[in-house]
Amino acid sequence: MAVTSEASLRYSTHPLDKYLRADRLPHIWCSGCGIGVALGSILRAIDRRVREGSLDPSKVVFVTGIGCSARASFYVGFDSAHTIHGRAIAFASGAKLANPELQVMVVGGDGDIAGIGGNHLIHAARRNLDIIVFMITNFVYAMTGGQLAPTTPQGLYTTTTPHGNPERPLNVIKLVSALMPNYVARASITHPPLIEQYTYKALGMEGFRFIEIMSTCPEVFGRHAGYRDPVTLYNVLRSKVRVKQNPHVDESELSWESGIVLGEYLIRNEPGYVRKLKEVVR
């Protein structure tokens, strides 16, 4: 029946389309990849803030480095920069300090943010610089085909550790918490409302805000780790994560055996770097 009702039109666009560059879609993320869930949840939080009038979307800047997660800047309808590997936080620092009115958000993978860009992460957190950093952890360098990353759990197989990973993974929650920024939380794509809730909260805060999002990469992480099927990997991740109210940072260990604790590890209300800077440079 060739009738176009208003009801069917309503479903022809997605409610988040206004934040996306629809002409760039479809995206390049593989089937079963968790980045879409993460980005969708981040956008929903932005949408809530925009609708309640506490965020001007024209002030949002997305900064990304290199990697699968970094492709986010291709698809969002905000001002965005796709910079080089590991340097998204450095770029974001410049953008924020040049124009403190901006809401600067960095989205990157674990390799980008904690591996090659780890130094910038440390110093932005130390300064309590007023940006939000999302680190989407999929345990490998996924875009290059699944090599060992600083977050790869011990013993797992990757393309560069076909004999099993001998290295201890980096617990980025603990690292960033030690630098006492204003907000440190860990979410997971198996629990999208948590991502939205933490992002919404972070958007209303100043200072450095860090949100780690545990994610699934069946294509290159799962393939070698033995969870090639997207549903299997999703279920494995869901079985390993558990949500806790106000967890202690000592519970943040990135352990494949004893599980991964989600929650808000650090909530502080210290003045952010921009405010501190204005105190000394008038």
């Binding site: 290199i66 090659i116 875009m143 290059t144 600083p150 560069t160 550790t161 076909p162 004999h163």
Partner: protein, 393 residues
């Protein structure tokens, strides 16, 4: 004839690393290099290669770890591309100045921005002033052989410099060709493992890379200059013995076509294959190809020898130096070489295939036609700027 195995360019490089019985491999993932190190990791896991693979956190660390490992006397390999090579830039000077015979393979790729993972020579050319011996292959067999040649040259006491071998990203790294694989026995016979360089030694402690004040720094640089220049003799000896042993012959340059061709193209890398195909297909007796394999030290004598009789020379550059008086880096090397030897030649620069755009037979035909046309004009009427091939205005 020896048995041939179908291998991608990257696998061919990895097999050569295995043949060289390398001790330490440090690398960071980057397209299109990554599968070299993945293959090496596989060899190590299978017990086929007794090496340590260091999973560093950036290319800067990859080459730094290589410098550290080489300073202990171990045989080192690393590989990278594009931004990775750019990040290594600082350490590339350290490796050559500390005279450490590290071998690195560059899977050539364009530099950002905009981000581009495809092939050109921007990364290779950007590091051509770092004091490394540099060579570029045309096919996968050569990419394989170059690694073996590289260790022989790097570790020669007359050289003691790092060597970069290069192969074109994707066009070669991810393309499969039949390869005669050099075995560990053959490889080590050709390039035996000997500690020929100054290393750290706990019994006689030394400090490496310490402050070289104005009283000393200059002398170090002069020695380094001489060593890189002298590496040419060692290269020539190495390829001669390589031919005797393996039957494949290489030179600092390769000339293809009639020696008395009026139009000569100068090129590097896989594009040379297309030019050869063009010359063969069109039976263009009037066109010759001079492929530069050894880029540093630049083989000036052979450039002069092969271009001396050309009416007009077209240089195909796959990198661009904006604002320079020359446009393309290879063109600049050719022009300086000819000028130093008082050869007044018509030389035209063509910038082609940046960011992975293929240089097709059609492009080569256009280049040759343009050269035939410019050949008839007086030298003063030649274009003063490079000509861009296959670009939208």
């Amino acid at each position: 004839m020896k048995h041939k195995v179908p291998l991608s360019g990257n696998s061919a490089v990895a097999y050569a690393v295995k043949a060289m019985d390398v001790d330490v491999v440090s690398a960071y993932p980057i397209t299109p290099q990554t599968t070299i190190v993945e293959k090496i990791a596989e060899f190590v896991a299978n017990g086929e290669l007794d090496a340590k693979v260091i999973h560093v956190e950036s290319e800067h660390s990859a080459l730094s770890a290589a410098v550290g490992a080489s300073a202990t006397g171990a045989r080192i390999f690393t590989a990278s591309s594009s931004q990775g090579i750019a990040l290594m830039y600082e350490i590339m000077f350290i490796a050559s100045s500390m005279r450490l015979p590290i071998v690195m393979t560059i899977a050539t790729r364009a530099l950002s921005a905009p981000i581009n993972i495809w092939n050109d020579h921007s990364d290779f050319m950007a590091v051509s002033d770092t004091g490394w011996v540099m060579m570029m292959a045309e096919n996968n067999q050569e990419a394989h052989d170059d690694v073996v040649l590289a260790y022989r040259i790097a570790e020669d006491p007359r050289v003691l410099l790092p060597v970069a071998t290069a192969l074109d990203g994707f066009f070669m790294t991810h393309t499969i060709e039949p390869i005669e694989v050099i075995s560990r026995e053959e490889g080590l016979e050709f390039a035996p493992k000997k500690k020929t360089w100054y290393t750290l030694d706990p019994d006689n402690p030394v400090t490496m890379g310490a402050l070289g004040d104005p009283n000393w720094y200059f002398e170090f640089k002069k020695q380094q200059y001489e060593a890189l220049k002298n590496s040419r003799t060692v290269f020539d000896e190495a390829v001669k013995e390589f031919e005797k042993k393996f039957g494949r012959s290489y030179g600092p340059v390769e000339y293809f076509g009639n020696e008395d061709a009026e139009v000569v193209l100068v090129a590097m890398g896989h594009v040379s294959g297309n030019i050869k195909a063009f010359i063969e297909k069109t039976s263009a007796g009037n066109v010759g190809l001079l492929r530069v394999k050894l880029y540093r030290p630049f083989p000036e004598d052979l450039i002069v020898k092969h271009l001396e009789n050309a009416e007009i020379v077209g240089v195909i550059d796959r990198a661009l130096v904006p604002g320079s008086p020359y446009g393309g880096p290879l063109y600049s090397d050719v022009i300086v070489t000819l000028s130093k030897n008082n050869l007044s030649k018509k030389v035209v620069d063509f910038i082609a295939g940046l960011g992975g755009r293929p240089v097709t037979l059609g492009h080569i035909k256009n280049i040759v036609e343009k050269l035939e046309e410019l050949k008839l004009k007086p030298q003063k009427d030649l274009p003063k700027e490079p000509l861009f091939v296959g670009v939208r205005e």
